[in-house]
């Protein structure tokens, strides 16, 4: 029987689903081999049980967590699709502020006060904390990055079809700089998140002459104290360093620096 696969989204830009739709040439091959039973951006057909559920987006409210648990219960494999699902992504920086303060920063005090006083908007405050999906359910595999790397998605499905699972090696982006023969950005006086970031993107940013901003998330054993020292030695102050960590890795940093909740 062809594996039944489904896509679900929570708080995200849906860019990962788009990145996958963009591998059109390979997608046609794939459609012969799997049944896509739910794909918000492509189909509307509903199915009840899934061999693989791809989950995009971070979890903000209890009702989202409940929906995710329901998806988990109906899926053989559950895969975090992209940075929002894997790490909480940029939106996890909001965890450092109260929702009311955060709202005021984005929309202004007046709008915040209006919304706070209007009971029709109260559901907005059901937002609790930005969580990667792994804080809510067990995750079988991560497809990291903002957005995901389409080749990794295809590789994962190839493995599922063959009855295996690709390995997730907890290696830094630096390993991919070496394999690609990239000169380290530190040697030209710049700074980088690559030493503490999950590899798998084939160092696409540093290969293009930019630095790694860490969109694939912090490695579980990242030595952040040592990394901070390296960044300081290269001229960043603590505020700038925090901003660099919090761009893509706020939730990961909270977990590493402050321990689990």
């Amino acid at each position: 029987m062809r594996p039944r696969i489904a896509f679900f989204d929570f708080a995200s830009c849906e860019g990962c689903q788009l990145a996958i739709l963009n591998c059109e040439d390979r997608l046609l091959d794939l459609l012969q081999l799997v049944d896509i039973v739910e794909f918000r951006e492509a189909l509307s057909e509903k199915g009840a049980r899934y061999d693989v559920a791809f989950v995009e987006g971070s979890i903000h409210r209890e009702i989202d967590a409940e929906r995710l648990r329901d998806i988990r219960a109906r899926s053989r494999l559950l895969v975090a699709l992209g940075a929002c699902a894997s790490t909480g992504n940029v939106q996890a920086a909001a965890n450092a502020l109260s929702p009311a303060e955060n709202f005021a920063r984005v929309y202004g005090e007046a709008a915040r006060n209006r919304v706070q006083a209007d009971r029709r908007h109260w559901p907005l405050w059901a937002h609790t904390r930005v969580r990667p999906i792994e804080e809510v359910v067990e995750v079988d595999h991560h497809l990291r990055g903002c957005p995901v790397v389409p080749e990794e998605f295809l590789r994962f499905l190839g493995h599922v079809l063959a009855g295996t699972r690709p390995m997730e090696r907890p290696h830094a982006v630096c390993t991919e700089c070496k394999a690609a023969g990239v000169r380290c950005v530190f040697e030209r006086g710049e700074t980088c998140m690559g030493q503490v970031t999950w590899a798998g993107c084939r160092a696409i940013c540093t290969r293009q002459g930019y630095r790694c901003d860490g969109c694939r998330g912090l490695l579980p054993d990242a030595n952040l104290a040592a990394h901070r020292r390296v960044l300081r030695e290269h001229g960043l102050d603590d505020e700038a360093i925090d901003a660099r960590y919090d761009l893509f890795c706020a939730a990961g940093r909270q977990a590493i620096e402050e321990g689990p909740l």
Partner: protein, 362 residues
């Protein structure tokens, strides 16, 4: 046929560039970003060949990595026409010339030739290696402030090269070291050199002394000190800043560990490729085994393992004084500035008598 010639730099460059008509020439080249990489040369492009005689620092990656490129396909598999299961090894026997290999990297290639032919031979490495001629270049001055090739016994290494080049008396000495080297020299325009050993002596006499960073002890003493330092705080001290990025392994000319990965064809899940990626003992999960247990999780224990591989384990297994060749790459490219030279110096200095024994879990 001459065993050794004196030639001008320009004739040497012509000679290297013209080799491109019979085999791919791989030569060092400085990129726009300042980094030196060993890259294929267009046949006849003598300007691009200049890096062969230039001495502008060590290359980003050692040239010996050519024999085990990252991500190489080891074999493919899938059903054959008759329905049987087919596995086809990929062996790359394309003829190549690797030019401008410095003594440290040459010694590393020589050591890897032994490792890869020993015990459980690596046919993929050996196929490329056997099809590759090597033209080495002796160094007239230290390539960087990190180099310690003389301390590691690499500076005068020639074995493994088919031809060695060296600057002597304002000219280039080209000295054949193998029968293949003798035949390669047939195409080089130059005058015969009757006494190459005397020319080498003049090359060595013109070098600075000491050459690069010196260590306060022999390689043999370093091996003994490394073994004796099992519980020494030196490992923790040189690991506190470590980010476990693996750079020191991956840029090292004598690190050869790898992991394998299967690439499955999405359209034909019964077909695929087995690929191999570079791996290294400083990387997380290197020592993880079935069931998830990691028998060398502690970073200081990983550092101790890496350094023991260079100064104690591999020398004992393969009969050489050290497997670090002193190229200086690991220290230069470590963003935390952890340099194996500093570790070696501390090991030779011994730990202070009152230093507490550090707890480094295996």
């Amino acid at each position: 046929m001459a065993e050794a010639l004196y030639a001008s730099s320009e004739s040497v460059l012509d000679w290297i560039a013209n080799q491109g008509s019979t085999r791919a020439v791989i030569a060092p080249r400085q990129g726009d970003d300042g980094a030196i990489r060993y890259e294929p040369l267009e046949p006849g492009d003598r300007e691009a060949a200049r890096g062969v005689l230039a001495l502008a620092g060590p290359s980003l990656l050692p040239p010996g990595k050519l024999f085990s490129p990252p991500g190489e396909v080891l074999f493919t598999w899938g059903p054959a026409e008759d329905g049987s299961f087919r596995v086809e090894p990929r062996l790359d026997r394309a003829p190549r010339l690797l030019a401008g290999v410095h003594p440290c990297d040459l010694r590393a290639i020589h050591l890897m030739d032994r490792v890869q032919a020993d015990g459980n031979p690596d046919p993929h490495y050996l196929a490329r290696r056997e099809a590759t001629a090597i033209v080495g270049l002796a160094c007239s001055e230290p390539c960087s402030e990190r180099c310690f090739c003389e301390a590691m016994g690499s500076l005068d290494h020639h074995e493994g090269a088919d031809v060695m080049l060296a600057a002597v008396d304002g000219r280039i000495l080209a000295h054949a070291r193998t029968p293949l080297g003798v035949s390669l020299l047939a195409d080089l325009a130059g005058e015969p050199c009757a006494d190459p050993e005397a020319a080498w002596a003049r090359h060595r006499a013109a070098r600075p002394e000491p050459f690069g960073r010196a260590l306060p002890g022999s390689r043999e003493a370093l091996g003994r000190a490394t073994t004796a330092a099992w519980s020494d705080p030196v490992w923790t001290r040189h690991t506190e800043a470590c980010l476990a990025c693996g750079t020191c392994n991956l840029v090292c000319p004598t690190c050869y560990c790898f992991d394998t990965r299967d690439e499955i064809d999405v359209a034909h899940p019964g077909c695929g490729e087995r690929c191999r990626d570079w791996d290294g003992c400083m990387l997380p999960g290197f020592a993880a085994v079935a069931g998830g247990h990691d028998f060398r999780r502690d970073l200081a224990a990983r550092q101790r393992h890496r350094v023991n591989r260079k100064f104690a384990y591999l020398p004992a297994a393969h009969g050489d004084a050290s497997f670090c060749v002193g190229c200086g790459r690991c220290g230069a490219q470590c963003t935390a500035n952890i340099d194996i030279f500093d570790i070696a110096r501390d090991l030779l200095a011994g730990s202070p008598d009152d230093a507490p024994e550090a707890e480094v879990s295996a």
